[in-house]
Symmetry: C2
Subunit: 538 residues, 2 copies
């Protein structure tokens, strides 16, 4: 078997596909740029070679009944060892794969999943559900817990079909292993689209999005995958958890909302009905510039509270704009856009722009409107942004090879708390960068905005000291997370909890909710085989 | 002590306030109308007298430590025996209060709630959280379960204050016992409003709305109280469950979403931060008429899928219109409206109206636009509708006194399933009315519409046989609920589950979710004192 995830040339250590990884010339150019920014000479290091990789000997093997689904191929095991956080890429770059799963199982049906779970319970093997492997929070890395004999990665990507489309209700039944492009290609055949574009879109899967409450394309209103879910089918060790397909219900607490964000601890999501839409026919976009981030934030608040629901409303500080190749002339820039499959957008855009300029914003050019047949026309700034957005994770991996420590973290808070949070978080991270890296850069953007608050997203960059990257990173991450927690913000708006965010998650969630969630897990996963260590302790 | 709920003259047997109950002349006029519709002579019966009421002797009493919160006053106990379903009103009309709680506790603080729970655990007393007492699904009626010594109703209405307002983030911290009017009066002092107007608005409470996932004012987008909740504070027997105040989060499954719809089985909701808005400054409304309900439904689908988000988009069939005093000339009527505190609404209304007429709709007059200072101007149809909407529950109680069986039920389904569901549900209920009542009437409206489906709401009316009302009702309710279930619709879109909907809820929710929910309850309410019999068995 070759698991579906490895069928294309995924890098065994870096983000994404090998053929998209920056080549030597690009890495040298990047090194020059970053050296200039950090004031430290960054040099490209040699890339790791798969032939030098040594994996631990498997502790368990698949039984004959699961042999057809199983792989112990070293590349498969390596590809399923980590997500793609900074920590993960650093360790993989070092060829440290100490926590490699013993085997990879690639189910093709729900029965395969159930069989895998039954075997895991019997043989005391942990099961780690695995979609695109793009977790940046240690969601798929499972050190062997005591009482267990081994760890199996359960790769869902062979289950990637759109099984049914209901064009009347605008919904599609999708298998959980479909990646963004695989899903969109199948929906496009029906003239439909999900329009959920997380930064991991190229690799991440429907099941992963649901399990981690992924954030997506729309900056307002339908921000999380939660909002697109009509029903979920999840295979648990104690049977199939399948909700009825409904536009809404008031029948008790929502079963879907307990599966959403369950991060593989309650069951393996295998299918979902998702709400889809026709491709947009009308688009409107504009860039608005602000002298201060605070002014831009106030504009975002006004727009978010106006009931206009732009598809894009992303505020980038000047450095963030630079980082993403968005021309901003040293200013903060708000990317504002609307889209619709139903109606021209001038009244929406005009009102939003009036609010944007009323709060100190200025436009260098009027909004660009693209109607049907004109989709080629687009705001150039928005296009630069989009390209840079999807390339950013490749860049992060490349920076690791230059000895640069670069990572992101994100949160959400109410508007009243944002000014203090922004100040304290930036100070905490800059202080930590100073201590750990001798200095560095922090940038910020809003990825999503709500009537009651923004979701700020921070990027930090500093010089790494070879061999000490993980300690440096841990100190900075702790400083950032402590600051978020102290300000009453959430430890994650859409990156999930995994193993990395556990300490701050444990402070954030209500204690009785933790009791309830642990009990719920025990009820459906009594042997605790599913992704142990995530969200709750056994 | 007199509990807050009884401080105003609530009827001990009928819906709402005594002074709003239809007087004898109104009942005679109603009897004439209904007699004409049903073809059966309906006569007003004598109203029940409180002085004839005999309650069971209390099985337990409050300890000295809770004496200041406790009442065994017969009127208090009577007022806390039932909700206000047809079944409840019939039994109360008969002076059957066999399941009266032994006492009523009216906490003033979270500590009072915690004390009540601790006492209940120690003394084996069930606690039934009680807000407005408007449940129509047996949510607050608690027959003594085996192993318990008594039942206490926990009336939250003394905790009814707005504790804080954050005008920047547009949110308010509200105690759970605030009724709709009490809440809105306090918010109005800040120029703010929640705009959540369930039919029970006059009496029901914030905590009740959250515990039952109440549906409200907006016909699209923000349909349930769920959408207004920023955080919840709930006192459980194992500590305080309080979520962080956040506009959004991706940190594990949402604690709020497990509290929402928990119907008093996990804890007692005592406070919530709710998202509020300024009062609308702009309004637009119009009525559109359709020859068939199916045409109107297609128009609703088009509008719901267009991304316009009208505040009202309620389709009434001809009889439903008649019932609510909405002039429709025998046609189906769509009440379409927009509101905004930010912008004039012509572009929104024009596009929605274009969709409405493209699907066979006709207007007798153009949309009415009311801008700031013109709030007095309003679409007359919408005004009639609103008045009749809030009076309907009084009418239902009055009908009981005429020997008329009248009730409502509601659901939601995807658009593809609606035509078959509508046909089968109407047939099932008409057949049952024929068998049980010798005929009757069924009407339908959409209370809310979603991109992927409507929430149809049915009203049925037939002649009751004195002394057999409950059996007649049960047979009709079963026919309706079985039809909903067979069609894959939900047993409730916003009326909740309570004890009445349990059999159909048990078919609807995923089995492993029931295991999880039962375990969650056991973790936070190990003695099972909270509202036993609702949602899960111990």
């Amino acid at each position: 078997m070759t698991s579906a995830a490895s069928a294309r040339s995924r890098s065994f250590w870096a983000w994404g596909y090998e053929d998209k990884f920056p080549d030597d010339a690009a890495r040298r150019a990047l090194a020059e740029q970053v050296s200039a920014v950090l004031g430290v000479a960054c040099m490209p290091r040699a890339l790791p070679s798969f032939s030098n990789l040594r994996l631990p000997v498997p502790r368990v093997g698949a039984p004959a009944s699961l042999a057809a689904l199983a792989s112990v191929d070293p590349r498969d095991r390596a590809l399923h060892t980590y997500g793609r956080s900074y920590r993960d890429v650093v360790r993989a770059f070092r060829l440290d794969f100490a926590t490699a799963p013993d085997l990879v199982l690639a189910p093709r049906t729900d029965d395969d999943v159930a069989d895998a779970l039954a075997w895991a319970e019997e043989e005391k093997v942990c099961i780690v559900p695995f979609g695109g492997g793009t977790s940046v929070v240690g969601g798929v890395e499972c050190p062997l817990p005591s009482g267990f004999r081994g760890v199996a990665s359960l790769d869902l990507t062979a289950m990637d079909r759109v099984l049914a489309v209901d064009a009347v209700s605008r919904a599609a039944l999708v298998q959980a292993g479909a990646t963004g492009p695989v899903l969109e290609e199948q929906l496009a055949a029906h003239g439909l689209t999900l329009r959920h574009f997380p930064q991991s879109f190229e690799l991440s899967t429907v099941g992963g999005w649901i399990a981690t409450r992924a954030g997506g394309h729309y900056a307002t209103l339908l921000t999380h995958i939660d909002d697109f879910v009509e029903s979920i089918r999840m295979v648990t060790p104690r049977g199939v958890w399948e909700s009825r397909r409904l536009p809404a219900s008031g029948a008790g607490p929502s079963p879907d909302r307990l599966a959403l964000g369950s991060e593989g601890i309650l069951g393996v999501i295998t299918q979902a009905w998702l709400r889809v839409v026709p491709r947009p026919r009308f688009r409107a976009s504009v860039s608005v510039y602000y002298a201060t981030f605070a002014e831009g934030a106030e504009a975002c608040r006004a727009i978010a509270q106006a009931g206009l629901y732009p598809s894009n409303c992303r505020l980038l500080d000047a450095r963030e704009a630079l980082l993403h190749g968005v021309p901003s002339d040293g200013k903060n820039v708000l990317l504002l856009a609307f889209e619709s499959a139903d109606h021209p957008l001038a009244p929406w855009m005009e009102r939003a722009l009036a609010l944007a300029t009323a709060h100190g914003g200025a436009c260098s050019s009027p909004p660009v409107y693209a109607d049907e047949g004109e989709t080629a026309r687009a705001n150039e700034t928005a296009t630069s942004w989009r390209r840079a957005f999807f390339d950013a994770p490749y860049l992060q991996s490349a920076l690791v090879t230059l000895g640069v420590l670069a990572d992101t973290f994100e949160t959400a808070c109410t508007w009243d708390k944002f000014p203090a949070l922004h100040k304290q978080v930036k100070r905490a991270v800059l202080d930590a960068l100073g201590r750990e890296c001798g200095g560095g850069v922090v940038t910020c953007r809003f990825t999503h905005v709500y009537p009651d608050g923004p979701a700020p997203y921070y990027t930090f960059v500093g010089a790494a000291r070879e061999g000490h990257e993980l300690e440096q990173w841990a100190a900075i991450k702790k400083a950032a997370s402590d600051a978020l927690s102290a300000c009453g913000a959430t430890i994650t708006h859409h990156h999930a909890v995994g193993r990395t965010h556990r300490p701050w998650y444990d402070r954030e969630r209500p204690d009785p909710f933790a009791l309830a969630l642990r009990a719920a897990k025990k009820a459906v996963d009594p042997m605790a085989v599913l992704n142990p260590g995530v969200l709750v302790d056994p």
